[in-house]
């Protein structure tokens, strides 16, 4: 028991570490959450105020399929992660490995990526399931990868944190913070060389903005006017470290002023607001007007990684040392998925029954993907020597070959 304590209090395995609460004020976040609450309570067909960034969006501007598509995609992401959360909690299927949920942040991923074309690029981070699903990632292959099976996207080499689908312009999730910005700028450069009007989008958390690669990616995109967009998903925390204790900017997109590029901060709990801001950025990028820096203010309902504070059937992780439960509840009140559903129904875009139908369809897809993963074969140990270089294997140097 005592030994346990010293282990869980601090080990170099940061994923399992829970620093004690820093005693910092949550004022900024609660203020922001409050503002969101006040404005999105008002749901009207004519105008939906998207709090925090001064932009307003009207449902009229969106075709029905687009709106339902966004709903479906957010739900797909939510349901897929939620299903895995339940599997992990149930201790079934022997699941193991890294697992960072985007639950609560789906408006940011879906709002941005739904403004892209299929041939555009995204470079994602450790919290990227939702980006992948929004970009058309195959649930079967994603589930199989979480099971570390041969049929997974990465053939079991990568797991949750590295899922990649180059064929869909998904340059990959990544376990390291920051290179996304360089990769996306490079992908934008590549589009220019090939003479296409593709756009490349980098995703990072509020923790990724204090990194030289962020500065470099954005600055070079500005210099060469690259079709690159940076999405900073500010969910208020870097593991357990509150964002306001890591950077002296209140709105992280303000760096754009010092880079002389377009920049906006948007309510990341409002998929339509995010989409609107993103559409403008995409138009700028395709028109050769250079990069845009977008900050989406959002929140992860669960813990940084893994299952601390999570309970079966409950949305959100509570009782964590670094945030208050009332803060979590304030943000859950802004959950973008029921919010969009309410809007769609209130505005007669879909009926309650149609919405339930979407829920059922998505659930079926997710369940099928779990079945696919379960019934897929494990990896072959020797395969670990492959894929270092194309078409060859490296030596099995763990064995002394005398």
């Amino acid at each position: 028991m005592h030994e346990d304590k010293s282990e869980t209090v601090m080990t170099p395995d940061e994923e399992t570490k829970r620093p004690a609460r820093g005693g910092v004020s949550r004022r900024n976040f609660l203020q922001f959450a409050g503002a969101v609450g006040a404005t999105t309570a008002f749901v009207s067909k004519a105008r939906v105020a998207s709090a925090g960034n001064g932009w307003t969006t009207s449902l009229d501007d969106f075709p029905k399929e687009k709106l339902v598509g966004m709903y479906r995609t957010m739900l797909k992401s939510r349901t897929w992660e939620d299903t895995f959360k339940e599997l992990f909690l149930a201790g079934k299927d022997g699941l193991y490995g890294a697992f960072h949920m985007s639950i609560g942040m789906e408006a940011s991923s879906v709002g941005t990526i739904s403004a892209l074309r299929e041939d555009d690029y995204i470079a994602s981070n450790h919290r990227g399931h939702s980006h992948l699903i929004a970009k058309g990632g195959d649930l079967n292959k994603m589930s199989a990868e979480l099971f570390f099976k041969q049929t997974g996207y990465n053939k079991g080499f990568g797991g949750s944190m590295h899922i990649t689908d180059v064929s869909k312009g998904i340059l990959g999730m990544n376990g390291i913070i920051g290179p996304q910005y360089l990769f996306a700028a490079g992908a934008g450069y590549s589009a220019k060389v090939r003479g296409t009007d593709q756009v490349a989008v980098a995703f990072g958390g509020d923790g990724s903005v204090n990194n030289g690669w962020y500065y470099s990616g954005l600055r070079n995109a500005a210099l060469y006017k690259l079709p690159m967009i940076a999405i900073v998903e500010n969910n208020g925390y870097q593991i357990a470290m509150p964002q306001e204790r890591t950077n002296n900017l209140r709105n992280l997109s303000d760096l754009g002023a010092g880079l002389d590029i377009a920049y906006e901060t948007v309510n990341g709990m409002d998929v339509l607001a995010v989409h609107t801001v993103m559409q403008r950025a995409v138009a700028r990028a395709r028109a050769g007007e250079g990069p845009t820096l977008i900050e989406t203010k959002t929140y992860r309902f669960m813990d940084h990684s893994g299952l601390a504070g999570a309970k079966p059937g409950v949305l959100g992780a509570f009782g964590l040392p670094y945030r208050s439960d009332s803060e979590v509840r304030a943000w859950i009140a802004e959950d973008p998925i029921p919010k969009l559903r309410r809007q769609l129904i209130a505005n007669d875009i879909i009926t309650d029954a149609e919405a339930d139908q979407v829920v059922a369809e998505v659930k079926q897809l997710v369940d099928d993907s779990i079945e696919f993963a379960r019934s897929s074969p494990l990896t072959i140990p020797e395969a670990g020597l492959e894929n270092v270089f194309a078409g060859t294997s490296v030596a099995a140097s763990q064995f002394v070959g005398i």
Partner: protein
């Protein structure tokens, strides 16, 4: 005196030095330095030393943690830079071109009393790619002007960390996950020093010299009983320091046993095993050499793959048997 884990042991070392040195400062990232020992004693450096010397706020920015700490150290304030496990080489250039060179380049003027406390994952399943690495200590040991330390247990961790904190030169201290609770051993409460550059002979033997440190030392330790039961009298040496490398006791041992097996969780090529074998080969002609290392591949996520690729205790036994064949 109790069965502390290495993190607690390290914090004891830091706490003691911080109490004696009113300026010693540590920069770190999101991992507040708090730990408890088995008796329930808690060390919370932040609570004791406050937000300036143990700043419990700051960015995810390893180059600041390293480069800022170097700037602190250059102005005469002893500093610790604690870096997370997936960024073992995020600041490599700053160590290579600055931290390691400044004393020499300035004709001896610049002191760099800096300890880089580098977490390291080791070969754990389910992490993949960047989160299950090992062996980067060999890259640092290739850099002139820095010392490199890799304890395999809490006792060594405390003694080596204290030595590092009292050294006028930069020391890179690798703390592997496997070495946190690796080999259980009692750790005295009072401060003590294990000099940098001293190997530990874990077991004496006459048939075969087995060398390994950090996670490999943990596996060799596990393999020891089996080796005995197979009638292999192994001399087991943990160098503990890679730079300065205590090669003499290893050479002396191989002179006796005629066989050297180096086990390393780093990669096959250009790892520690090469350096140790090469030095012994120059000194002991005619000896027999073998190495068991992680292959020249990144760590895969799936348990079956990474487990098969990692030199664990059973593989140490197999390798030793092979080494004993005529």
């Amino acid at each position: 005196m109790s069965n502390k884990n290495s993190t607690y042991a390290i914090l004891e070392a830091i706490q003691h030095e911080m109490r004696n040195d009113p300026h010693l400062t540590m920069l770190y990232e999101y991992q507040r330095p708090v730990a408890a020992d088995p008796l329930g004693n808690v060390i919370d450096l932040y609570k004791e030393f406050g937000d300036l010397r143990i700043p419990d706020w700051g960015p995810i920015d390893e180059e600041w943690l390293l480069g800022g700490a170097a700037g602190i150290a250059m102005t005469g304030v002893r500093a610790i830079s604690h870096l997370p496990s997936m960024t073992t080489v995020r600041c490599f250039e700053l160590v290579f071109n600055q931290v390691g060179k400044l004393r020499h380049m300035t004709g001896g003027q610049v002191n760099m009393p800096l300890v880089v406390w580098q977490d390291a994952s080791g070969r754990r399943p389910g992490s993949a790619g960047q989160h299950a690495d090992a062996g980067q200590e060999a890259l640092y040991a290739a850099i002139p002007g820095v010392k490199v330390v890799i304890p395999a247990n809490a006792y060594d961790a405390k003694g080596l960390f204290t030595a590092a904190l009292r050294d006028p030169d930069p020391v890179i201290f690798f703390q592997y996950g496997a070495a946190i609770n690796g080999v259980q051993i009692d750790v005295p409460d009072d401060p003590y020093v294990i000099p940098l550059g001293e190997a530990a002979i874990r077991q004496e033997g006459t048939d075969l010299t087995i060398v390994g440190y950090g996670p490999a030392a943990v596996e060799i330790n596990k393999a020891a009983p089996d080796l005995k039961s197979f009638g292999i009298s192994a001399e087991i040496i943990d160098p503990r320091t890679l730079k300065p490398l205590p090669i003499d006791p290893i050479i002396a041992s191989v002179r006796k046993t005629g066989r050297l097996l180096v086990v390393d969780h780093g990669h096959e090529s250009h790892g520690t095993a090469s350096e140790i074998i090469a030095r012994v080969a120059m000194a002991v002609p005619g000896a027999k050499f073998g190495r068991s290392t992680f292959p020249d591949a990144p760590p895969p996520g799936a348990r079956e793959m990474i487990a098969w690729m990692t030199p664990d205790a059973p593989k140490v036994v197999e390798a030793s048997k092979k080494m004993m064949q005529p």
